[in-house]
């Protein structure tokens, strides 16, 4: 019978396997598990929302089927910024769009000669690797809206979901 590794003569003796599985004191182990479960639940519900990327509209920055997280606290102290990749909810947060913000409230957005045009100026977008044939007229972004689009501009315009998202629908910033 192996020893428990404690000097307390009154402590119940436990085998090596039991010590590895449930620790020296099962009550503390249960408490630790309970704390871990609660912390994991709170973090995944209110801080870092786990997501799985589906689709090719954010390639090559984000590949299909990759796992990522949405930081829900990213916009507590400041509003979303240009270049941020954000999660936009649908009727709930089970399905969300993952898009990059290119247009801020009050700006105008157009697509011309392979470039996104913001307020008449071509936007420098190093994350866009494929060339685009999108030609879209100037569109104003409302005071409470953000213009979002994917990085994969090689897709057909009609197959690529993009447009103005209400601020209230932006759940948070993509973490990784």
């Amino acid at each position: 019978m192996p020893t428990t590794g404690t000097n307390d003569k009154n402590a119940p003796s436990a085998g090596w396997g039991q010590r590895v599985l449930i620790g020296r004191d099962p009550r503390w182990t249960v408490l630790r598990i309970a704390i871990l479960v609660v912390v994991s639940f709170v973090v995944s519900k209110f801080v870092l929302l786990p997501i799985r990327v589906q689709g090719i509209s954010m390639e090559p920055t984000y590949k299909d089927h990759r796992v990522n997280f949405v930081n829900r606290l990213a916009y507590v102290f400041h509003e979303p910024r240009r270049g941020d990749v954000v999660a936009i909810r649908t009727s709930d947060e089970h399905i969300m769009y993952m898009k990059r913000i290119i247009g801020l409230p009050g700006e105008t957005v157009a697509f011309h000669e392979r470039h996104a045009i913001i307020n008449g100026q071509a936007l420098d977008e190093p994350y866009v690797k494929q060339s685009s044939d999108w030609e879209r007229p100037t569109e104003p972004v409302g005071p409470d809206e953000y213009y979002v689009v994917g990085d994969n501009r090689s897709m057909d315009w009609d197959e690529h979901t993009q447009g103005r998202a209400k601020r209230e629908r932006i759940v948070g910033k993509i973490l990784l």
Partner: protein
């Protein structure tokens, strides 16, 4: 003293059980509507290799979820706006759609139900997800659904597409 506590706990458990049983027999309308829409999504699924007759029967069964004067309006980017008026048009569209797809899986998520003041109508927001094998693209569409209670049955009166990104 101990038996008193046991009695209290027993009574609370009995009350809980009675409440659970009552809720099971009389579910709230929101729950009935969610179940109804989930059943519709299941009915709209098409299995690979399903016979034409089975598909026809499936399309016919879909009409049981709608009011006779149902109106469905689909307005998505890249396609012209389309409206189906009445159950016959909806049934024909369902039959035509089922004939063109090899297989289809439909699921509804985020079903938010707002009951009308009369409790005879409800506004529902949901997100529909459609996937078909072999197609990497997942179709996601937010919908606004108006439902009406007719003879204890919640039926769909109106469906409109919602543009998440405008």
């Amino acid at each position: 003293m101990k038996s008193g506590w046991v009695r209290v706990v027993g009574l609370v458990a009995l009350a809980g059980l009675a409440f659970w049983g009552w809720r099971l027999l009389h579910p709230p309308p929101e729950q009935v509507i969610r179940k109804r829409l989930t059943a519709l999504a299941r009915a709209a699924c098409i299995s690979q290799g399903e016979s034409q007759l089975a598909r026809l029967a499936s399309a016919q069964s879909l009409s049981g979820y709608f009011t006779p004067d149902v109106q469905i309006t689909v307005d998505i980017s890249g396609h012209s706006r389309q409206t189906w008026n009445g159950i016959d048009e909806v049934r024909e569209a369902a039959i035509a759609a089922e004939a063109t797809v090899s297989a289809l899986k439909v699921q509804f998520f985020g079903i938010n139900v707002t009951l009308g003041p009369d409790h005879k109508s409800a506004a529902v927001e949901l997100t529909a997800e459609a996937t078909s094998p072999g197609n990497k693209n997942i179709e996601v569409q937010e919908l606004k659904v108006t439902m009406k209670k007719i003879k204890d049955d919640w039926l769909i009166r109106q469906v409109e597409t919602v543009k998440t990104l405008r």
